[in-house]
């Protein structure tokens, strides 16, 4: 379903990652561990089409998205969703507008239905009209997840989405996110430096060590 072949990442003229290969089945959740500067976020940004790489190919659902480190398909047309470390919710839009951003092509009624379903799924019914600054960190995180899931992406990328939460909240949320991802059968890649988080959330864990990926 997803295949990443021979990805190499150069950061500030230094090769940080070489020969990265990964393939995932539909609905599979993969966690990528690594120290700061190991290039794990660069992998996500390359898959998303946001940054280019030195080498590498991305194939998603049989479509070639990137070849030789260059992108053949724009980020907006790849069908890839992403949850950022700082959530990056649009501060001038309410929760429902944030979630609806990616499904504006649908009729209003369908949008509304989708928002209601997603809010139910993330357990935040009744906050539709609130703005991001009125929400707690955990709530913002869940809204960011709902926003990324709304267009039903073929692949979801999670870039250290739990790092700014306290331990209690994090444990609870990690379990909840796994449940949601499994419920929606969304193929996902989580980038983190927390091994517990990786083990709880994912089906498969890999680690970048010495510029190479090893899958456990």
């Amino acid at each position: 379903m997803l295949a990443i072949n021979n990805l190499s990442v150069v950061y500030q003229n230094k090769t940080v990652l070489e020969g990265f290969n990964l393939s995932l089945e539909k609905g599979e959740i993969f966690a990528l561990l690594g120290d700061s500067g190991s290039g794990k976020s660069s992998v996500l940004r390359f898959i998303a089409g946001l940054d280019e790489a030195k080498k590498g190919q991305v194939i998603l659902d049989g479509n070639q998205l990137s070849t030789a480190g260059q992108h053949d398909v724009n980020p907006e047309s790849r069908g890839v969703g992403m949850v950022f470390q700082d959530y990056s919710l649009f501060p001038h839009m309410s929760v429902e507008k944030n979630i609806a951003f990616g499904i504006q092509h649908l009729p209003k009624l369908e949008q509304q239905q989708s928002i209601t379903e997603l809010l139910k799924m993330i357990d935040l019914v009744g906050i539709e009209k609130k703005y991001p600054h009125q929400l707690s960190g955990g709530e913002q995180q869940r809204v960011a997840l709902a926003r990324a899931l709304a267009p039903s992406p073929k692949l979801l990328l999670l870039d250290e989405p739990f790092s700014s939460l306290d331990k209690n909240h994090r444990d609870q949320l990690v379990a909840q996110v796994r449940h949601i991802l499994k419920q929606t059968n969304t193929t996902s890649i989580l980038v983190t430096h927390n091994i517990d988080e990786a083990n709880t959330l994912s089906d498969k864990v890999g680690k970048i060590d010495n510029k190479r990926l090893t899958i456990k």
């Binding site: 998303a48 907006e76 969703g81 950022f84 990056s88 649009f90 600054h133 926003r147 990324a148 267009p151």
Partner: protein, 518 residues
């Protein structure tokens, strides 16, 4: 004190001249209102469109030549509006060579550049877009790139990202730039008189010069103050509760325009730079070159000296007062009185320089009369025609620019800095010198430089209040261009532009430095 001219013009309603006012309000007012409104709407739409699009392109898109164009787009700040107006008139007027070429080579009919409002609107837009450009550029630079990336991954193309994410977040900055532009347009006298376009400012001149009625002039001016109040209210409302800024500065471009699209963007941005700066400058240089031998004389040393002295002293005093007004203070937050004082002190920006001058002269005269009545002496001979009065007019007129720049940097001082300094035992004085002022320095410098550019360009108040023998470069430009001596006017205009460009490059250097350190 700074707000004195405003009180004077409002006070003018106490001494109505019914007949003349009736003439003005019945025959001229409706036209004045509609022509001023058309001008404001046209200029407003134009500067917001041009300023935000240009700022967005240089901050968010990588295209060929972006780096130097980003800075080049500030340069029109250095050209006074009336200089650009006389260059355009000189080139596109009926006898200008653009029209001569059109008629003789292309065989097209001529046109009247002064007819309608399009040419004057275009001139104002090209001179004033840098206000919106400067403010929205700073705002775009502080937008989170991740947010734009999130938009992209949710399927939004560049245009949707611009309209639904970046632009709404930059709205307060665009509104602030728009406010300054509209106030500058309202206060302008040079451009509108060169284009023979009637606005409130020209009507104020007419009431005063043609009808010798300082009261009607002041009454018309008070209507301008009203418009200014409305504009300030509108800007505050547009700013709203929003606190959208992130602290990270954009250094990665979310879009890379490659190939033809990239060159097309370069061409578009370059053409704005050519129209607003390079081509007028080239024309000034050509005119200046042909007339410098005739025009240059020792008097230019005096002109440069008096311009420099006035500019420096006015900028220093304005900045000192604005800094005191903008110092963060807990008592200030709740003080309605102080807030009103600041609002009044910064309203002078909407007053045309001429009205400022009239207000001051009128005010001083009233004080003298009261003094005489009480058995004292008139103070007129001490104050009329003194540098002090002129500098005072500049300070009151340009307080808003200095204040908004300094206040913006003061706003970034979080209460936590004050609290931690207090807890470390810092006295109020030490807090000001060691915490506030160093943190406000970029804003203070920027405010001072912007005021200096404006003082150097200022025309009407200087014209009326300057001490004998204190002609400035602006006066020289005005006197020569009013007589149609465009070639000769190019010489002092070029010196002004050179000084303006120098001040702007210092401003850009500081801006670059502060964005590196923040």
């Amino acid at each position: 004190m700074v707000a004195l001219p405003i009180f004077v013009v409002i006070f003018s309603w106490a001494l109505p001249e019914h007949e003349l006012w009736a003439h003005f309000s019945q025959n001229l007012l409706p036209n004045l209102i509609s022509s001023t409104a058309i001008l404001l709407i046209g200029v407003g739409v134009g500067v917001v469109l041009l300023g935000t699009v240009l700022a967005y392109l240089v901050v968010m898109v990588e295209f060929p030549g972006r780096k130097w164009l980003e800075w080049a787009l500030f340069l029109p700040f250095a050209i006074p509006a009336y200089v650009l107006a006389f260059v355009y008139l000189g080139v596109f007027d009926y006898s200008g060579y653009a029209q001569v070429w059109m008629r003789e080579v292309l065989g097209l009919p001529g046109f009247d550049i002064r007819a309608g409002s399009w040419a004057i609107i275009l001139t104002f837009v090209l001179v004033f877009y840098p206000y919106v450009y400067m403010m929205t550029r700073a705002s775009f630079k502080r937008q989170k790139i991740n947010m734009i990336d999130a938009g992209k991954l949710l399927g939004a193309g560049p245009i949707r990202v611009f309209f639904q994410i970046s632009l709404p977040l930059a709205r307060p900055a665009a509104a602030a730039g728009l406010l300054v532009t509209l106030m500058e347009t309202l206060a302008d006298f040079g451009v509108v008189s060169l284009f023979n376009y009637d606005t409130f400012t020209t009507a104020i001149y007419s009431a005063w010069i043609d009808f010798r009625s300082i009261e009607v002039a002041a009454q018309l001016a008070s209507l301008l103050v009203l418009v200014a109040f409305f504009l300030i209210y509108f800007e505050k409302k547009a700013r709203g509760q929003a606190k959208y800024y992130s602290t990270d500065i954009v250094n990665r471009k979310p879009y890379h325009a490659k190939g033809a699209v990239g060159w097309l963007i370069s061409l578009m941005v370059l053409s704005i730079f050519m129209l607003s700066f390079a081509m007028p400058m080239l024309q000034l240089l050509i005119w200046g070159w042909t007339s410098v031998a005739e025009e240059w004389s020792a008097k230019y040393i005096d002109l440069i000296a008096s311009t420099s002295i006035l500019t420096t002293s006015a900028a220093l005093i304005t900045v000192a007062i604005a800094t005191i007004l903008a110092l963060p203070d807990r008592c200030k937050q709740g003080s309605v009185w102080l807030k009103s004082v600041i609002r009044l002190a910064t309203l002078g920006y909407a007053l045309p320089g001429s009205v400022m001058a009239v207000g001051l002269l009128y005010g001083v005269n009233q004080i003298s009369e009261i003094n005489n009545y009480l058995g004292g002496e008139s103070i007129n001979h001490l104050i009329f025609g003194s540098i002090a009065l002129l500098v005072f007019a500049y300070v009151s007129r340009f307080m808003a620019i200095a204040y908004s720049s300094i206040d913006a940097s003061a706003q970034q001082i979080k209460p936590v800095f004050t609290q931690s300094a207090r807890l470390l035992g810092a006295s109020r004085q030490r807090l000001i010198w060691r915490v506030y002022l160093p943190m406000m320095t970029p804003g203070i410098l920027a405010g001072g430089l912007l005021v200096a550019v404006d003082v150097m360009k200022e025309l009407p108040a200087t014209y009326l209040l300057r001490p004998f023998g204190w002609d400035t470069l602006a006066i020289q430009v005005y006197e020569l261009s009013a007589e149609g001596l465009y070639e000769r006017a190019a010489v002092p205009a070029l010196i002004m532009v050179l000084f303006g460009a120098l001040i702007m490059s210092i401003f850009q250097y500081l801006d670059k430095k502060s964005s590196k350190t923040s």
